[in-house]
């Protein structure tokens, strides 16, 4: 379990708190959605989960984050990365290998998996995201959507207990979106915890998260099951979020 316990964080040099007194618990075997307007602190929240904050981002932090009972301050990001896999918003920042295959094996090698296991998990990860056929290509020759899926494979191959993904659907066509949903659902089925940050509520609704958090100005302003959150159309709209289509229809019918 990951426990975020009363965390307030302000980036060094910034005048405002990026997160304000955020408390939440993330369990295994569940999918969590995190939504909110630009700058509401979604990416910052993800950075807390694997210890990038406070290890790599300077600033003022109150509260604490526990990953299976271990305070993230007491463990290194490299150690935490075995448990919490974080996929960044921008995939380009991570690629340095000559081939897609090597790129995906970098994480498993870093955490010291044995060679046999690496081979298996790299193949599995690439197949999951549908890039096995492109394994000999250079990561830089891929399209934007493929790069994003490659970045997910890079983390999947490390077999983390929790997977946190920042904006997985950006640049994805509807087929890829569907296959991403399948991956995340399978992970939930295998008892992994999945955390998804997205602006794409239509897709999130289809994914069927267990809990949705709405962030605004660094505060969790509402949390609950998808039905409860998505049917509060006014709340979503005032936060610049487009509710899933079927909820809009429902509310129109109700008014009518």
């Amino acid at each position: 379990m990951i426990e975020v316990d009363g965390v307030t964080f302000r980036y060094e040099g910034s005048g405002v708190n990026a997160l304000r007194d955020v408390s939440l618990e993330l369990e295994r075997g569940k999918i969590y959605g995190i939504v909110g307007p630009n700058g509401s602190g979604k990416s910052t929240l993800l950075r807390l989960l694997n210890g990038l904050i406070p290890h790599f981002y300077r600033g003022e932090m109150k509260g604490r984050v526990l990953v299976d009972g271990v305070d993230t301050r007491e463990a290194s990001v490299a150690q935490l990365s075995r448990k919490v896999g974080l996929v960044f918003q921008n995939p380009e920042h991570m690629f340095f290998s000559e081939t897609v295959y090597e790129e995906v094996s970098f994480g498993p090698k870093s955490i010291g998996m044995d060679p046999e296991e690496i081979r298996e998990s790299v193949k599995w990860a690439l197949e999951e995201v549908g890039l096995w056929e492109l394994r000999e290509r250079s990561p830089w020759s891929l399209s934007g959507g493929e790069m994003k899926r490659l970045s997910i494979a890079c983390i999947l191959s490390m077999k983390p207990e929790f997977l946190a993904v920042d904006e997985p659907t950006i640049g994805q066509d509807s087929l890829s979106k569907e296959s991403l949903s399948q991956i995340f659902k399978r992970m939930r089925g295998e008892g992994k915890g999945v955390v998804i940050v997205t602006h794409d509520l239509e897709w999130l609704d289809e994914l069927g998260p267990d809990v949705v958090f709405v962030l605004r100005y660094g505060v969790v302003i509402s949390r609950g099951g998808p039905r409860e959150i998505f049917s509060d159309i006014r709340n979503l709209a005032t936060n610049g979020l487009i509710p899933p289509y079927r909820y809009i229809v429902d509310s129109l019918l109700e008014v009518g």
């Binding site: 040099g13 990038l52 990001v77 990365s81 896999g85 960044f88 991570m94 340095f96 970098f106």
Partner: protein, 255 residues
């Protein structure tokens, strides 16, 4: 120990206005030029210490205390290596220290200027000084890219450590080798950014006319005059300090 994120801190984008950033760009440029010239007046250690100390008001006005402190701390190992290398070739500890302090003080001066002056301001300034557009523009773009790339470095490092990568592991040589997964994305991203920029400029018909129009007018406030006087005093005092102490030759040869 080797903390590349800390080293680039001083060049990272600064959010918000500071008393320094509100100065007239010409004032900022003159201050910058003065603090680049100051350490060059003489090679003495005293001169270099004076240059550093004289910059303290600017560091405070630009609210850079923490960034400067962090960057210095992160670069400590690097600085020590420079001093040692310098000592091995010159056999003068005082001279080595002076040279490294000179470098540090010039880096601080550049960082304050770059992070506290918008590229647009620098561009307008250079245009006013009748420097050809091609040169002005290249210069501005180079400056604009420094904080962007510094931010990229942060994203790259955090991406790699999130994949279980340990920067700190191993001997010094191994650590240097461990920078590869950081440096390669860095270079590729820089090249890509360059291409994107070229395309963006072409679509905006950059270079179609010799004369670009400009509508911004910069004013002089009291702060500007105070700091210009400060710059003048610093240079005069610097010249005096320069005559006070014996000069070192650049490489003291022995026969």
């Amino acid at each position: 120990m080797l903390d590349p994120m800390g080293m680039v801190e001083i060049f990272r984008t600064q959010v918000g206005e500071t008393p320094y950033s509100k100065l007239n760009p010409l004032t900022k440029f003159i201050l910058f030029a003065s603090f680049i010239a100051l350490p060059l007046i003489s090679a003495s250690l005293l001169m270099q210490i004076f240059s550093l100390v004289a910059q303290i008001p600017l560091i405070i006005l630009s609210r850079s205390e923490r960034r400067v402190k962090r960057s210095l701390k992160a670069s400590l190992l690097f600085i020590v290596i420079l001093v040692v290398l310098n000592y091995l070739t010159t056999h003068s500890l005082e001279f080595s220290l002076a040279m490294v302090l000179r470098l540090v003080s010039m880096i601080i001066a550049s960082a304050i200027f770059m992070t506290g002056t918008s590229p647009a301001e620098i561009g307008d300034l250079l245009t006013k000084l009748r420097i050809p557009l091609q040169i002005t523009f290249s210069f501005v773009i180079a400056l604009r890219f420094i904080p962007v790339l510094a931010d990229d470095v942060v994203m790259i490092i955090t991406s790699q450590v999130s994949r279980g990568y340990e920067l700190e592991k191993g001997s010094f040589l191994e650590k240097v080798k461990r920078l590869v997964p950081i440096l390669i994305p860095m270079i590729i991203i820089a090249i890509r950014r360059g291409h994107q920029l070229a395309e963006a400029l072409e679509t905006k018909a950059f270079g179609a006319t010799e004369k670009r129009s400009s509508y911004v007018v910069y004013e002089y406030g009291r702060g500007d005059w105070i700091l210009l006087i400060y710059a003048a005093i610093i240079i005069v005092v610097g010249l005096m300090v320069g005559t006070l102490t014996p000069q070192f030759q650049l490489l003291p040869f022995r026969y």
